[in-house]
């Protein structure tokens, strides 16, 4: 048990880190708002307004409300946005799907995979070969590709039965390195088109179905709008599946084996079976997202699915928040946005205050500035938001000021579960879902 004095010190540190957190969030939002990206700027402003309105509301009321509003926005958005903005949303959706699949594996079941890029490659090549060369329907090809990926996921799960942590990471790393390279193998070049890659003809990709062709407003649904809706549906479905899975018996078994394998075993959980199951389900969703990625890019190439893709997806879920759908969404959008907007970010010399302090020689810096920003941001986020963006969001939501200002509305959840051990021990769960936190 902690005495009062250390509790005060702890509270001070907490206050300090929360204000630092808020500063970083506001600076980040500021950069987004001054950037050229109209899409994200709008989203950020709308979200901020929504949050201000929502804070006094009880959570049970506003959570479904926020979901409904978000989906409402996404369904109307394509009709107001430019084509490239809709394509950008599609891009985000694909990566959200990939992040959800990996988050299910790492966040929920505690198994590590550095090979998810390869699973995406399977989905992508399935579409490339089946749809483009044999004119199979895209939907069927995506499904078969996902099943194939699930098969590989099963094989990938086998070492997981015996390996944990870094050892498993390296074992799965092998897949990330080797599998995409097979696409270049001369013996299978007939199908994969080797290192030249394969570009898709739009003729064989899904067309807007007849019943969707006439939409209210007297215009037809464009192909890119349909592609967005299709991707959005697949992403929402994956999210729903993983969310439900997490609340199911199986999901809870996975959480149990993540938190303590011996304890899970004591409770009668078959470790090998559940670990492999986690890999199979995760790989299936990854395969689907790979199919959609190739659909979005209208091409497949071995290099698209290289190690950097695996690492990027991993960064998404760690930055976003482990075992959280919201985390996958925020992380994927954040990393994608940063990757695609690196060159548009202001140079260090153009920043207010800091710019005046920097010597002139930083004027030639901008080319590399992007990479430095990127790295610094990741480090800052990891320090200030150890549970990722979603974790920070929940933390702010549960922060006492809310109670101070608005009274005790909705179920109040303590900031951290009461720590009964030594104070330096990490909180018992990496789960940022408020449902699982004891109340």
């Amino acid at each position: 048990m902690m005495n009062t004095r250390s509790r005060t010190a702890l509270t001070n540190i907490r206050e300090l880190s929360v204000s630092a957190l808020l500063t970083v969030i506001f600076v980040g939002l500021f950069i987004i708002i001054i950037s050229h990206d109209r899409l994200l700027r709008t989203a950020v402003i709308v979200a901020a307004i929504g949050l201000i309105i929502a804070l006094p509301l009880p959570r049970r009321t506003w959570k479904p409300l926020a979901l409904a509003l978000t989906f409402g926005f996404l369904i109307v958005a394509p009709f107001f946005l430019e084509k490239f903005e809709v394509d950008r949303l599609t891009d985000y959706a694909v990566y959200v799907m990939a992040a959800i699949s990996l988050n299910m594996l790492i966040g929920m079941s505690g198994q590590i995979s550095l090979g998810h890029g390869a699973l995406l490659a399977i989905g992508g090549y399935a579409v490339g070969i089946m749809v483009q060369q044999h004119h199979v329907s895209f939907y069927l090809a995506a499904l078969l590709g996902a099943l194939l990926a699930a098969g590989v996921g099963f094989l990938l799960g086998l070492p997981a039965v015996r390996l944990t942590g870094p050892y498993l990471a390296i074992a799965t790393l092998g897949l990330a390195i080797s599998l995409p390279t097979i696409g270049k193998w001369v013996k299978v070049e007939r199908w994969t088109k080797g290192s030249q890659g394969m570009e898709f003809s739009s003729r064989y990709l899904p067309n807007v179905p007849n019943w969707l062709q006439k939409i209210p407003g007297g215009r037809t649904l464009e192909v890119y709008e349909f592609r967005f809706f299709l991707t959005l549906a697949a992403t929402a479905l994956s999210a729903l599946v993983v969310w439900n899975f997490g609340r199911s018996r199986t999901g809870r078994a996975l959480v149990a084996l993540r938190d303590s394998e011996p304890a899970a075993q004591v409770m009668g959980i078959n470790l090998a079976r559940y670990k492999i199951l986690a890999f199979v389900v995760s790989a299936f969703i990854a395969g689907i997202s790979g199919a959609f990625l190739s659909y979005e890019l209208a091409s497949v190439h071995p290099d698209t699915y290289g190690l950097d893709l695996s690492i990027a997806i991993l960064a998404m879920i760690v930055i976003g928040g482990l075992n959280s759908i919201l985390g996958s969404v925020l992380g994927a959008i954040f990393i994608r946005w940063l990757t695609l907007n690196k060159t548009s970010l202001p140079a260090p010399t153009d920043l207010p205050l800091l710019g005046a302090l920097l010597p002139d020689k930083f004027k030639t810096f901008p080319t590399y500035a992007a990479g430095v920003y990127y790295g610094l941001l990741l480090i800052l986020i990891m320090i200030l938001m150890p549970k990722g963006l979603a974790g920070a969001y929940y933390r702010l939501l549960h922060y006492p000021y809310r109670e101070r200002f608005f009274g005790r509305s909705g179920p109040h959840v303590p900031l951290e579960p009461a720590v009964t051990e030594a104070p330096f021990v990490l909180p018992a769960s990496d789960n940022v879902h408020e449902e699982v936190t004891p109340s």
Partner: protein, 494 residues
């Protein structure tokens, strides 16, 4: 309690991943080694050529001997004989000087109409251009190419622009990842509304936007890649143009050399190639001319491969020797070319070696165990490398960089970028005051024997509606007993 170690793993893991991502994204000025086979053919070529050193004196002598190019001292060319007869200037029929002349502004001819907003991305005062290039990540070693192009455009703008329009180039960093290239290119085309995509880098990246650019009818000009497919079907893809000789073409050129050299008649060919995109393109090119099994005069008796991760190629050399090959078609990076040549010497196998241009590195004599082992090796190239600083054309690039962008070192990338910059200037000039995407494409297709001083003598830019490969010819070079290279023979063209 249980599980503590699992949690610790996760923390370590998170830190590890952050470090990894950081390292990947910040490695912009990394000296990329051939990290994987992913590097595009073109890229590989330029990379290895960066270290190449055909001796300056020899090449300068060769360039004078060839005598076809009209390059005067100081890099400023004088008029050559050939003029693009098929192309008329904006003011009517003013014929253009058919030689690149550095990065200067272009003044509108007297009596020409005033520039107006004639097409997407074109205003009376500006032409919006954009491209995707790897500015960070391991492939960013190629970024001097786009930087030199940008420097060239800056020089043009400072000199009054082209017909009063400034060239405004927006370079987006795609890190050589196709999944980034697509959204970035869509942004450039649909939001920034660029007039043309100028020299995007890479095979996977260009593959992903290839169909899109042609659907959108946006020029995708002079892509920086060694893959051959861009120009395979100009009817279907009229908006895309390559630039340098691709490996396929180079392979074809070697095949013709073998066929046409009387001394090589009746000799059997043995091949060693790196088992990846670039290696296979070379072999495919050879087989297009000679057939899958070679010709009756020059049968292909053996094909050996190696992976970029192999330690040694001596067993492949043993096989090649055992099969009785007399011509050794060597498609390898400098390190492996060196190993192969050394192994051949060790096993007292003395074939005629025909080596790809990728392997021409200044340290090849060391890698192959001495000048004796590389004497007589035949290779090729198409432009003056940055080592030939005594050549006026390379000196011109050096002077340009010193003036325009002192932070940028002279390199083969810079030479390539300078060549591209000049071709862009000439193309905009030819496309006329009333600049449209159609007039631009017509201008790109108008080159007949256009001379760029940095190209080897006699190698010129040639395009047409059905030919989207501007540079197709190469010049052979031979290693002497002192390890110095000499250009020889006629230019080889497909």
């Amino acid at each position: 309690m249980f599980g503590t170690s699992v949690r610790e793993h996760r923390v370590v893991f998170a830190a590890m991943s952050v470090a990894l991502v950081f390292a990947v994204s910040c490695s912009s000025n990394n000296n990329s080694s051939k990290s994987n086979a992913a590097v595009t053919a073109a890229a590989t070529k330029v990379a290895s050529a960066a270290a190449s050193a055909p001796a300056p004196a020899a090449s300068a002598a060769a360039s004078k001997a060839a005598g076809t190019a009209a390059v005067a001292a100081g890099g400023s060319p004088v008029a050559s004989g050939a003029v693009a007869e098929t192309f008329k200037g904006p003011g009517g029929n003013a014929p253009w000087v058919n030689v690149a002349d550095g990065c200067h502004g272009v003044k509108a001819p007297a009596g020409a109409e005033a520039p107006k907003a004639s097409d997407t991305g074109v205003t009376p005062t500006e032409i919006k251009l954009g491209t995707t290039f790897a500015l960070s990540g391991p492939t960013s070693v190629y970024s001097p190419i786009i930087k030199t192009i940008q420097d060239c455009f800056n020089a043009v703008n400072a000199d009054g622009g082209i017909y009063g329009r400034k060239l405004n180039l927006d370079v987006e960093d795609d890190q050589y990842i196709a999944a980034n290239t697509v959204p970035l290119t869509k942004k450039l085309v649909e939001e920034t509304k660029i007039f043309a995509d100028t020299s995007p880098l890479g095979t996977p990246t260009n593959t992903a936007i290839f169909a899109y650019m042609n659907e959108q009818k946006v020029p995708q000009l002079f892509v920086v890649t060694g893959a051959s497919k861009w120009a395979d079907n100009p009817k279907q893809y009229p908006w895309t143009f390559g630039f340098q000789p691709d490996y396929l073409t180079e392979g074809q050129n070697y095949a013709k050399y073998i066929q046409q050299t009387p001394a090589l008649k009746g000799k059997k060919i043995g091949i060693l190639y790196q088992n990846d995109d670039y290696g296979k393109d070379y072999v495919r090119g050879l087989k297009i001319v000679l057939g899958d099994k070679g010709t009756a005069d020059n049968p292909i008796v053996d094909e050996e491969t190696y992976a970029a991760t192999d330690a040694d190629v001596s067993s492949q050399i043993t096989n090649l020797k055992a099969k009785g090959a007399d011509i050794f078609y060597l498609v390898a990076t400098p390190a492996f070319a060196g190993k192969a040549l050394k192994a051949a010497a060790d096993q007292t196998w003395h074939p005629t070696v025909v080596m790809n241009s990728v392997a021409i590195a200044s340290n090849l004599p060391d890698l192959s165990g001495g000048n004796a082992n590389i004497a007589g090796v035949i290779a090729d190239n198409y432009y003056h490398t940055s080592n030939e600083t005594s050549d006026p054309s390379v000196k011109a690039v050096q002077d340009f960089l010193a003036k325009q962008d002192p932070g940028l070192q002279l390199s083969n990338f810079a030479v390539v970028g300078y060549m591209l910059g000049q071709v862009y200037v000439e193309t905009f000039k030819r496309a006329g005051v009333n600049l449209t995407r159609d007039s631009m494409i017509k201008a790109v297709q108008s080159y007949k024997g256009f001379v760029i001083p940095q190209l080897l003598p006699g190698i010129t830019v040639n395009t047409s509606e059905s030919d989207h490969r501007p540079i197709k010819c190469i010049k052979l070079l031979k290693y002497g007993t002192d390890g110095v290279t000499t250009y020889f023979g006629d230019n080889l063209c497909p």
